[in-house]
């Protein structure tokens, strides 16, 4: 990948820093008095999601990172890794380990469409659909009038996720969940 110089730094640019792919969040040109100009950059590490600040001399450059975001369908779990397939008709597949998948594994079901970030063709992060519909496999029977727990109880979903649901929810029901917060939204319609 080509190198990119400080005068082309801009938010959204994806570069390699200390070996990791990063995206630039904010860039600022600084020139102290009679001194040497530099560029202050806030970057987000695409692997760890951590944000940090670095300064670069004017004229310094960084290698750009081959990072692209693609839509992929979740196929199956083989007991070791998770298999995804490009949804562009190419049938190209990638394998994702549990660590990379992170919490997304609690939300996805086979055939769900996810956003996958590929770095040099390798998956580095998976974002599940914002809303998913999952079945309750286990929850205590609702107790009328029990307000001590704030009117909610724990339910275990078919994927293994554990979420807070209202007292009237029963096992076997299908619920709509916001994967960004892991919160119950309502009963699935239809």
């Amino acid at each position: 990948m080509p190198n990119i110089s400080t005068n082309e730094f801009r938010p959204g640019l994806r570069v390699l820093l200390d070996g990791d792919p990063c995206t630039m969040v904010e860039t600022e040109f600084v020139k102290p008095g009679k001194g040497q100009a530099f560029t202050r950059v806030r970057l987000k590490n695409l692997i760890t999601s951590r944000t940090w600040e670095r300064t670069f001399k004017s004229g310094e450059s960084l290698p750009t990172a081959d990072v692209r975001e693609v839509a992929m369908q979740y196929l199956y779990f083989d007991g070791d890794t998770y298999h995804f397939m490009l949804s562009d008709g190419s049938y190209e597949q990638v394998e994702v380990d549990a660590a990379t998948l992170g919490d997304a594994k609690y939300w996805i079901r086979e055939e769900d469409l996810c956003q996958v970030v590929l770095w040099d063709g390798r998956p580095i992060s998976i974002t599940p659909p914002i809303f998913v519909e999952l079945e309750v496999v286990q929850t205590d029977p609702g107790v009328r009038g029990d307000t001590a727990t704030g009117g909610s109880k724990t339910a275990i979903m078919s994927t293994g996720a554990s979420i807070r649901v209202p007292l009237f929810i029963e096992a076997g029901e299908v619920l709509r969940i916001d994967t960004r917060t892991g919160e119950y939204v309502g009963r699935a319609k239809g």
């Binding site: 040109f29 020139k31 102290p32 008095g33 009679k34 040497q36 100009a37 530099f38 670069f56 001399k57």
Partner: protein, 307 residues
């Protein structure tokens, strides 16, 4: 509020405030006996500072430079006729685009033969009181600013300690820029109006060296933004040439173009310049502060991004 891609960036408020500042600045200097002058923007010579990049033009075989400040011509004028003068002009610096920088910007620059840097800080404060609003000014030396913010004594510490301290605040710090990094970090934290004075020799530029062994130069900072800088002008022609040579050595080491010594300015200094202090103030930044704008493009009709 959306703006079409061809439209000016600033609003009517900035146009009117700029016109008012130009009027008031002229009134301020005229009332104090300063003569408004004009000097060329295009010249055969330019500043040799290793961190200033001039726009160059070719004129047949010859090379010309857009001026990074009107300093050289104004001093040649003063060497001939010593009298208080001021100029409001455009200056050009290649590669300087950012929220506080535009490669073409407006400078108010003035010189007063016989004045000291403390006379000039006072006059700068008065000008800012007039153009902005009255405010209290603090004074701090470069050395004590660095000591307060970084716990470092720049007079006694060795180079590696200096670079190490600078690395803690800026990853790109090295032997050429460690002082700049420490200074920038300390200045960006300042609030209110602060005059930093007495700069170490590597940051002397064309200032005379004072009795205390540091450059008799000051920067006027408002809320962490460098608004103006002034100095007691260097009079010694030999020292002028020595600094140009020194700048060119740094330029060579950094792979930058060589800048010929301005022999006309050197000759003017040889003929004798009366002890003089001068100040340059960034008018666009003053306008930003006046209107509470965050970026310089909000006070420009058309900035580097839309010109």
């Amino acid at each position: 509020m959306s703006r079409s891609w061809w439209q000016p960036e600033c609003g009517a408020d900035a146009l009117e405030a700029r016109a008012a500042i130009l009027r008031d600045a002229r009134k301020f200097f005229d009332a104090r006996g300063y003569l408004e002058i004009q000097t060329p923007s295009l010249s055969n010579h330019t500043a040799s500072d290793p961190f200033l990049d001039s726009y160059t033009l070719t004129d047949g075989e010859a090379r010309r430079y857009l001026q990074t400040s009107p300093e050289f011509h104004m001093k040649r004028l003063l060497a001939h006729t010593p009298r208080p003068v001021y100029q409001i002009c455009l200056a050009f610096r290649r590669g300087e685009t950012g929220h506080l920088h535009n490669s073409e910007f407006t400078i108010i620059e003035w010189y007063a033969p016989g004045a000291s840097t403390s006379d000039m800080t006072e006059l700068t404060a008065k000008l800012i009181d007039t153009l902005l609003k009255p405010g209290r000014v603090e004074r701090v030396s470069f050395e004590s600013l660095i000591r307060d913010k970084h716990g470092l004594d720049i007079c006694t510490c060795d180079e590696s300690t200096l670079i190490e301290a600078a690395r803690r605040v800026a990853a790109h710090a090295d032997q050429f820029n460690a002082l700049d990094c420490l200074y920038e970090h300390a200045v960006s934290d300042l609030s209110g109006r602060v005059v930093v004075h007495g700069f170490p020799l590597p940051l002397a530029s064309l200032a005379a060296i004072g009795h205390d062994g540091v450059a008799d130069r000051f920067e006027f900072i408002i809320d962490g933004i460098e608004l103006a800088n002034g100095c007691q002008e260097l009079l010694d022609a030999d020292e002028f040439r020595r600094r140009v040579n020194c700048n060119n050595e740094i330029r060579r080491a950094r792979g930058l173009a060589h800048v010929e010594c301005d022999t006309r300015l050197e000759a003017a200094l040889c003929s004798g310049l009366t002890p003089t202090s001068g100040v340059a103030l960034g008018l666009d930044r003053l306008l930003m502060l006046k209107l509470g704008k965050r970026t310089i493009s909000q006070v420009l009709t058309f900035s580097d991004k839309t010109r």
